[in-house]
Amino acid sequence: MRVIFCGYREWALNIIDEIKEHHFIESYDVIKTKEEFEYQIPSLSGKVDFIILLGWSWLVSDVITEKYKCIGIHPSDLPNYRGGSPLQHQIIEGVTKSKISLISISRKIDGGDIWMKENFSLRGDNMKAVFNNLEEASVLLLNKFFDKKGAIVREKQNLSEGSYYKRRTPKESKIELSDFSNKSLSEMYDFIRSLTHPYPNAYIEDEYGNKLYFKEVSFKKNK
């Protein structure tokens, strides 16, 4: 099989490093930027079995998705948590056991056919720990995918079900001091840990514009 991997984030590159050795992958290329993608993909020669996008931020044109099998991993149990910031939205809403979904890239954001799913834990004190979980789940899923040489029955998403979210903005990382009184500390923990590096950290801002950022937290449940 010939595969083109597209990804630039650290966790995506770690997944590519692990999976590229799969015995059914005869040749592969790695594309790390939008510019490389726009230049290289239209001029591809020969057969390409799959273009696999991992943590890719840019839209892929219909011309490319119609010509090649373009698939990507979305870190949620689709059709739930389609759209932006899926990790943050799930963690903030208290989801700890989720799935990653391997889907066709289509015009509808995160709305393509589902090829496979794999269990994925959202636990961990920071996003580094969550990314480690994501890497492990993705490697497991892609190994299963390549074991079957991609011969998998796809399932259409019912987009009238599930949920869609917008990408979070840095201003949404603000905590009101009163949140510490009105919310449980477990909720505060989830909010803060979902916004640890590399995301805009959770912060409190006072009336003078001074900001206190929460960079690392942990939580211990009472027995």
Partner: protein, 223 residues
């Protein structure tokens, strides 16, 4: 000069490397525990240098050998233990790091009893995170001990005025805030509270009926 160097904290162990290379030091030994110190024949040595040591030396030691140490406060203030934490929580961002000579008084509540005399001092900045402060204390301790050894035996001792306020050493429970405590504190007070309890100290935390939220690292942006 033959020296016994007392240190066990990470930041203070680095100071030993510098002190033992001083040209006045003919021989030196590092003690990491009180029991290691008790095994030594003190009459074989000229001076004890204590760096971040938290145990009392007692008359058994001080009747036999001179001892100096460094304290990170404008003594006589904050001489009862937890000087970094107490100063930061009180809003102090600039203080002194001073060489003092040990005495022993079993009735004293102070962390290290002394005769209100210091020989050398440098400024110490308390405005950053704990790792910044401890890194700085490694450097200032090196400077202070090397200056002491440079000037030895012609040390000029300066007296500091005694203070009557007793600032007791912090207890582990002092690191716990209730939700009500948090709601009464401003952003700078919260920053100071949490940053002074960053690693290697037991982290500042907030407790409710369900659990404890540990704030491990914070950052402050002052407008």
């Amino acid at each position: 000069m033959k020296i016994i160097f007392l240190a066990y904290r990470e930041w203070s162990l680095d100071v030993y490397k510098s002190v033992k290379r001083h040209p006045r030091v003919q021989f030196s030994i590092l003690c990491r525990t009180q029991s290691e110190l008790e095994k030594l024949n003190l009459s074989d040595y000229d001076l004890i240098i204590s760096c971040g040591w938290s145990e009392e030396l007692g008359n058994d030691v001080l009747n036999k050998i001179d001892a100096i140490g460094v304290h990170c406060a404008e003594l006589d203030r904050y001489s009862y233990g937890s000087p970094i934490q107490l100063q930061i929580i009180d809003g102090i961002t600039r203080t002194k790091h001073r060489v003092f000579s040990f005495t022993y008084d079993e009735d004293s509540l102070r962390a290290h009893t002394h005769n209100c005399l210091y020989s050398h001092e440098v400024d110490l900045d308390l405005s950053g995170n704990m790792d910044d402060i401890l890194e700085q204390m490694t450097v200032t301790s090196k400077v202070l001990f090397r200056r002491y050894l440079d000037d030895s035996p012609n040390i000029i001792w300066k007296k500091w005025p005694p203070e009557k306020i007793v600032r007791e050493k912090r207890e582990p429970n002092d690191s716990i805030l209730s939700k009500e405590d948090v709601s009464k504190m401003n952003t700078e007070e919260l920053y100071n509270f949490f940053r002074c309890l960053e690693a290697p100290y037991p982290n500042g935390c907030i407790e409710d009926e369900k659990g404890i939220l540990y704030i491990e690292r914070v950052k402050y942006f002052k407008k």
